[in-house]
């Protein structure tokens, strides 16, 4: 799977001509074309954000407050205990930082676009996107960029760095690179699942509620996996792998890994989520009847 979701795949219906030329042309040209398009989308987003500067800054404050809130919750819990399972205080801080980092990167690229999909279906604007000579999933998923989220991701990195120092972690480049790669898998899983939920808007118009319901799942992703047992743990590991997305990267970073089984499981779940999400997307597109006709 390429970094840009679906960039080198073609949507089933609308791009018949585009697909032909892309197949004939060399791949780098396709990639360059998509990068040019994406650069234009970025430019649009920057312009849009700068129109409401005050609001832009206030949203960053909101996110910072909620991040601080989660950290103070952990602070209060550890006033009364030394461990959650085997997780110590600074390990959990690292976990909350990582989960915030993953969530913010996800939010920077995908969140608005996923929540907007139901709106596109409802008012029929999806028609125009289907007619564009680019992969539809690409434009739908990456149309807007949330720039403030990058700043919030940076605060998450600062918190993680502090926690790592408190834990006296000796980090090699290998550690950090593996960590980052696994975080990206986490971002990819969040995106695949939320996009999957968003595509239900092809069947029920009121999908926005479902998409926001996904927000509850982020709350699980930032809790230590050892707190869970039984059905709950199985569901949130093998069906909606929330207990893997941030726990596994942090286990790598904090040397809390017994074997390479968990990272492999995370990557495997990433592939599985991506495939299911793409399959449902294609199925949904076939189901699409424009709202305007």
């Amino acid at each position: 799977m390429s970094g840009i979701p679906g960039a080198n795949r073609q949507a089933p219906k609308p791009d018949a001509e585009g697909a032909g030329s892309a197949a004939l042309g060399p791949r780098p040209a396709t990639l360059a074309r998509y990068l040019t398009i994406y650069a234009a989308l970025w430019k649009n987003s920057v312009t849009r954000e700068m129109m409401f500067k005050g609001n832009f800054l206030l949203w960053i404050v909101v996110e910072l407050l909620w991040f601080a809130l989660q950290l103070s919750f952990i602070g209060v819990i550890y006033l009364h205990t030394n461990r959650i399972g085997t997780w110590t205080q600074w390990q959990v801080v690292l976990l909350i930082g990582a989960s915030h980092f993953i969530q913010q990167i996800y939010q920077a690229f995908f969140l608005i676009n996923c929540t907007n999909l139901s709106e596109l279906v409802r008012n029929g604007k999806l028609d125009f996107l289907l007619l564009l000579p680019v992969n539809t999933r690409f434009v739908v998923s990456l149309r807007q960029v949330d720039l403030g989220a990058f700043l919030n991701a940076a605060t998450a990195i600062a918190v993680m760095a502090y926690a790592a120092r408190q834990l006296h972690l000796v980090l090699t480049a290998g550690h950090v690179l593996t960590f980052l790669a696994l975080c990206l898998v986490g971002v990819w899983i969040h995106y695949s699942l939320m996009f999957l939920l968003a595509t239900t808007s092809f069947w029920t118009i009121r999908a926005q509620g479902i998409v926001w319901g996904y927000y509850n799942l982020f709350q699980i992703a930032r809790l230590p996996d050892e707190a869970f047992r039984g059905v709950f743990r199985a569901v949130f590991t093998f069906a909606l792998p929330m207990l893997l997305v941030s726990n596994v990267p942090v286990r790598v970073l904090a040397d809390k890994l017994d074997s390479s089984r968990l990272p492999l499981l995370l990557v495997g779940m990433g592939v599985a989520c991506g495939l299911v999400s793409e399959w449902v997307w294609r199925l949904s597109l076939r189901h699409y009847t424009s709202a305007s006709s």
């Binding site: 206030l58 909101v62 103070s72 209060v76 205990t81 399972g85 009121r206 869970f228 709950f232």
Partner: protein
Amino acid sequence: MRYGKGRRHTVRPARMRKYWHVINIGIQNNLAYRFNFLARALFGLIPLVAILSVWQTIYAGQGAGARIGAYSLAEMISYYLLVTVVDALTAVNEDDWQIAADIKDGNISQFLLKPMDYLWYRLCLFLSGRTAYLAVTAIPLALFILALKKYFVFPASWPVLLLFLSSTVLTALLQFFLSYTMALLAFWVLEVSTFIFILFAFEYLASGHLFPLDILPPALAGVLSFTPFPYQLYFPISIYMGKATGGELARGFALQVGWVVIAYALARFVWSRGIKKYSAAGG
């Protein structure tokens, strides 16, 4: 609009009657969103189960009969279940967004002409929203609590339950008046959601949503007890669990009533200022 339907009424019942109609219509409108309510309540159980599991793990790590602050495991679990119950009874749902939208779209103009007060109108809609929400979610919520029955602590006596319910009503009023006031910021700013979320963050932490406030260091909990936040959630629960009794109970009720009155006065004040700004903008 005529609500008397030809029959004669004294002024007062007629006045009550129109608000009764608002509540009725509000319930019907809200019931249209019943699946949304149900989805919200069921989705909301997932983080609840998660946090309960975390506490269970913490208690398990401390050996049998462990207490955290003044809480046994059963009491801790009951606390979070009661948070869910009080939240279902009192939380402001979409009201603040709707009020802000009413102001931005100019819908409030008609209330300046109608013999109906906008604040009471919104309070009626808030009540009907809560009623509809409860009608849909009471059964799943009750089943969930039933599943955790062995951890659920019941109130010590009937008077305690009665005090809990009265305090919950005050909590609902406080929640509503504060949200109403925040939404009125729409008179001055284009986008109120950031302000609402900032207040919500403080409420979430300081009202006891995340953890019972009395596991905080006593000095901090003491300071918090003077802010409105504990009276938005924590106080009724502490009554239910028998943590607030005697003098503390009386003091808590006094503070809660005080904050409700202040929040109401603030709502009226901000409205009167906002209306001036609003009519000026209307030319």
